[in-house]
Amino acid sequence: MRRQPGALEREVVAAIAAAGEELTTPQIHAALARPLAYTTVMTTLARLCDKGVLRRAPAGRTYRYGLVESTATMGAALAAHQMRRLMDSHEDRSAVMSRFIGDLSADDARLLAQLLTEATGAPQADEPGGQP
């Protein structure tokens, strides 16, 4: 059996994500597929907390562990990557973008405009005091 570095860390994270809620150390220990010493799980959890991947809150005599990054954030980042890749696969980017913008709902269009303004840092036209 070959060991892959970080395999246990990934399994711990996957177990917490699969549960969809914060888990205590005994629950995580039970949700791993292999016979592991309880202290090994504790060490791994502590390391993941140090890395800033998990956050913990005291729960009785143990801790509850949860993911720092929500799955919604990670999903959004992935979807953005897929959108960029789709756009790259077409010759005419401006055609794709204009088509995309043309099909947006009014709410989405407003949101997009607002996000673009925030991202480019330009002051909004209807906002008084935007110009120095």
């Binding site: 059996m1 070959r2 892959q4 996957a14 597929a33 799955t71 999903g75 980042a77 990557h81 960029r84």
Partner: protein
Amino acid sequence: MTVSALIACLGAGIALAVAAPVLVRSMRPASATMLLTAGALAVSACAGFIACILGFETVAGIPFIAAAGGWSVRQLHGSNPAPWAGLLAGAVVSVLLIRSLTTFVGQGRSLWRSAAACRQMPNVAGLVITDDAESPHALAGFPGRVVVGAPVLAALGPGHRRALIAHEQAHLVARHHVYLQLVEVATAANPILRPVRRAVRLSTERWADEMAADQTGDRRVVAGAIVAAATSVTSAEATTTRLASAEDAVAYRVRVLLQPRRRTRLPAAVLGALLVIVPAGAAAVAAHTAEGAFERAHAQLAHAHPPQVRGVHRSIAAGDPAGSRSHTAAQ
């Protein structure tokens, strides 16, 4: 002679395309992946090289080009009995060359993009966990990321979860994207290799299955994970048309995992050598023949017009140095 070399090379390509599914099923997946990738690259490169020679022979037969090169048109025509074949080969190879270059650039760009996304994407311990039930996959990068939906994780038990992550991580550790991208370029350069691409896809999946089985120590758990993941994903992607072949592949992978590990039935080294030697040999023969033909054409013209300086154009006629190298290697 060049035409027969091209036919031999394309024949090797067809043999590779026909043998690919068989090879995947009878060899260890790592060897099958490497062998098929090397074979596909050898066939497409050598067929392209020979087609270039053919095209060049025909173009050189055009009177004013022959005059510029110092070759006898009559002699060249004598050694190149089918000029239309040369024109056809030249036209086809130019299109395919452009196609494979575009594919190469496209593959490079997509790798660069996904590596950039891997760097920036929020992740937990190398996992990108999304909240929709998309099919788990590996995103290539330095380092790459394993992407998996939380609903898929929730649908799996602890053992299956471990096997699934080990499988996707194996794709990254063994750099399967490199083989897939190389085969993609080879297929763009030579469309008859399309079945090889499908075979390499399957064999990288099998390779990752075996690595996951190594890591978890239980082939049955990996088989179970494949089934569980496939069923939890199909519900979300039931509309996609590619599922029919994907399901065949899943069924095959599960079947193999439920059997004990097999030894390689075909001696991979012999086959690999054949797959590379036949196209390389054909290319070497074609290069050698073309070299001879151009030298004779040059000599005849030099004989007819003695004052002309001899041997100036010999370097052009000698053709590609890579061709002469592979010639010696093949012998």
